[in-house]
Symmetry: none
Subunit: 215 residues, 4 copies
C-alpha cells in the first residue's frame, strides 16, 4: 500500500534517494491536519506546510489526497491486539481497556474526520473498513467464537451484531460529543448492552460514571 515500494523492478537506484524521514513527517502531518480540519478541508498544500516540506515532496510520493490519507490510515496500528485470557469476562475487560486507550481515542478522532467523505469516495470507504472497522470486529468475533466454543454463549446469540456493538457505539459517541468516549462510557456499553445481548444479566454501573449516550 505504501507508494514507494519498488516491488520487483530494482532499478540501480539512480539519483539521490528519497529521504525516508520525509515520508514519516508527511504521514504524521496528514493525520494531524485530518483530525484538525477534516477530510474535505485537508489539502496537499496544508499537509506540506504542516510537515515543513515542499509541495513537490508530497506530490512525488502521493498523487492525490485520497492516496495519501489511505496510506496514512495504513500506518496507524490497529486499536486492539489479539486477546485471549481464557474467559469471556476477562476478554471483555481487555476490550474495554483497549477501546478507551489514548491510541484508540486518536483512532476515533481520525474516523470521525473521515466519515462524511465515505459516501463519495469508494476507495476511502474500502480502506476505512480494512483498517478500522474490520480489525475491531474481527478481534471481538474471535473472542465471542471462542466463548461459544467453551459453551459460554447460547446458540441464539447474533455474534456478528454483538461484535460490532462496542466500536459502533463508541464511534457514535465521539461523533455526537466531539470528544472521544472515555472508560466510563465503554463500561456502560458493556454493562447495559453487550452483556444482555450475550445472554448475561446487565451489570449496573456506579452512578457517578453514568453517562447519557449523546451528551
Amino acid at each position: 500500500m505504501e507508494s514507494n515500494d519498488t516491488v520487483i523492478t530494482d532499478e540501480p537506484t539512480r539519483g539521490r534517494p528519497r529521504d525516508p524521514s520525509r515520508d514519516e513527517a508527511i504521514i504524521d502531518a496528514a493525520i494531524d491536519v485530518l483530525v484538525r480540519d477534516g477530510y474535505d478541508r485537508l489539502s496537499m498544500e496544508g499537509v506540506a506546510t504542516a510537515a515543513g516540506v515542499g509541495k513537490a515532496t508530497v506530490y512525488r510520493r502521493w498523487s492525490s489526497k485520497a492516496e495519501l490519507v489511505i496510506d496514512a490510515m495504513a500506518t496507524l496500528k490497529p486499536a486492539i491486539d489479539s486477546i485471549d485470557t481464557g474467559s469471556l469476562e476477562g476478554d471483555i475487560e481487555l476490550v474495554v481497556a483497549a477501546s478507551c486507550s489514548p491510541h484508540s481515542q486518536r483512532l476515533f478522532q481520525v474516523m470521525v474526520s473521515i466519515c462524511s467523505a465515505l459516501p463519495r469516495e469508494p476507495e476511502l470507504l474500502a480502506a476505512f473498513k480494512t483498517r478500522f472497522t474490520e480489525p475491531r470486529i474481527a478481534r471481538m468475533t474471535d473472542i465471542l467464537e471462542r466463548a461459544r466454543g467453551r459453551g459460554e454463549l447460547g446458540p441464539d446469540i447474533d455474534v456478528a451484531m454483538a461484535a460490532s456493538l462496542v466500536p459502533s457505539l463508541m464511534l457514535q459517541r465521539a461523533l455526537m460529543t466531539g470528544q472521544p468516549a472515555g472508560r466510563g462510557y465503554a463500561e456502560q456499553i458493556v454493562g447495559s448492552v453487550l452483556l444482555p445481548v450475550l445472554g448475561r444479566p446487565p451489570r449496573p454501573i456506579s452512578t457517578k460514571d453514568a453517562e447519557t449516550p449523546h451528551d
Copy 2:
C-alpha cells in the same frame, strides 16, 4: 431560528416584499447539495445555482452556510411521531417502521453529510442534537418509560442507553455502507440487541434478511 421573522419592529414593509417561494427553493436546494456534496463542500454559490436563484438572494436571508444549514435542518420533519399503541411490542413495531421509512432514510443521509463537521462547528452540533438526535431518543424514552410504568420492564434496564440504540446503529450502518439501512437491518437491531437489552429473549431473524452490520 428562521432568519426572516420580523420580531417586534414591524416596519411599514416598504419596497418589494421577499418572495416566500425563494426561501423554500433555497432550503430544498441546500438539502440536496448537502446530501450530494457534504457539508464542507457545500457553498452558498452552489446552493444558489441549484436553487435557480441569485447569490444575493441567498445572502440576503442567511449570512453564512452554517445558518443556512441549521435552518434547513429545522424544516425537516422529525422522523418519528408520537407513538402509543398500549404495548411495548406494538410501539417497537412502529418505531421500526418509522426508522426505515423513506423520510427517515433521507434524514440519515443528511446526518451523514453533516457529521464530520460537527467537531468544528458547535452551533451545528447543537442544532444537530436538537433536530435529529433528541427527538428520536425522546420518543423512544417515552415508549420505554410507559412500558416501565406498565411493569413490562425490570428495574435494571438502562433506559437512556436503550433509547439511543436504534438511531445510533442505524446511523452507523448508513455511515459504513453509504446507503441508508433498510427494514431488514432495523428488525435485526431490535431482535438481536434491543429486546435482550430490555430483558426479553432475542428474536432470531429469517436467514434471508440477515445482514452484517458493516457491509
Copy 3:
C-alpha cells in the same frame, strides 16, 4: 481588436456590466510591465498586481498574455500622424520631430521589449507589424511618393528601403543602448543616410551632436 466588443449579438446585458476603468487600468499596467520586464517575463498575475486588480478580472477579458499584449499595442497611438508640408525638406523635419517625441520613445521601448518574442509568436509578429512597423513606413512612403510626384526625387530611388531607414535605425539604436534615441541621433540619420539615399548631398551635423550608432 478589443475583446469586449459585442459586435452584433447585443444580448440584453444581463448581470453587472464590466467596469471600463478596469480595462484601461489593465492595459496601462500591461504596458508598464512590458517595458519593465519584457514580454517573456510578463505574467498575467504581474499585470493584475500592477493594475491593482484581481487575476480573474484580467482573465475574464484576455485569456492569454499574447492577446493582452496585442490589445495593449492596439491602444497605443501611432507615432507619426499624417504629414504634408508641401516640401520634402519640411516633411522630413516633421518626421524627425515625431520620431524622437516622448510618445515615440515610449513606443520604441515597447518594441524593444517585444522584439525577441516575435520569432516564436506569429500573431504577435503580425500585430507588431500592423501597429508599429507599417504605420511608420506608410507615412514615410506617402511623403516620398508625393516628393517623387513633385519631381523632387530621381527615378532610381528605392522608396521602400528609404522609408524604412529612420524607424529601423532608431529601433536599432534603442536596442543597442538601452535608451531610446534622441533628436541628435535622428538628425544624424537624416543627414548622413537618408538624404544621400534620396539623392541629396549629406548634411553634416554639428560636432557636439554627433553620436556613434551603438553607444
Copy 4:
C-alpha cells in the same frame, strides 16, 4: 571570461579532473536553447538536459545564466574576417558575402534571441557589443578608412554611421521577419543605401531579388 582557466595557482589538481568535453557540450546546448527559446526562457536546467549533463555540472562551471550565455557568445567566431582586396568595391563584395553566410545567419539568430534582455542586463549588453556589434563595425570601418586613404571617399562621409548600416539593417530584417536575411537583401542594402551614403550612385537590383525591408 572563461570560468575554467586555472589562472595562476596551479594547485596539485586533486581528484578527478574536469571533462573538457562537458564544457563544449554545455556551450553548444546553450546556443541551441538560446536560439530556440530566447534568453528569458532559457534555464540552466534546460541547458543541462539538452547537453545530456547534470545540473551540478553546469553550475560548477557557470553560476548564472548570464555568465553562461556570455561565455557561449565568446566562443562564436566573428562573422567577418579581415578584408582587404585593394578596392572599395571588392571589399564591399566580400562584406556582402560574409554578411549572409550560414555562420553569419546563425549569429543573427543568436542576436535576435538575446536582444530584448539587453536593457535589463548591462553585462550582457557589454558582451553583446564586444562580440557581435563592434567586430562587424570595426571591419567595415577599416575598409572605409582605407578607401578614404586611397581618395575613394569624400570628406563629408559619416564613416561611423556608414559602417553600422549593413549589420543594423540585416539584424532589423531578421527581427521583423523571423528569418535571417539572405543575399538578395544584403545586396539591396548595399545598392540602395550604402553606395549613396558613400557618395556613389545607387546600384539598382534585379527585380526578382527586390525585397521590401520588413516582409
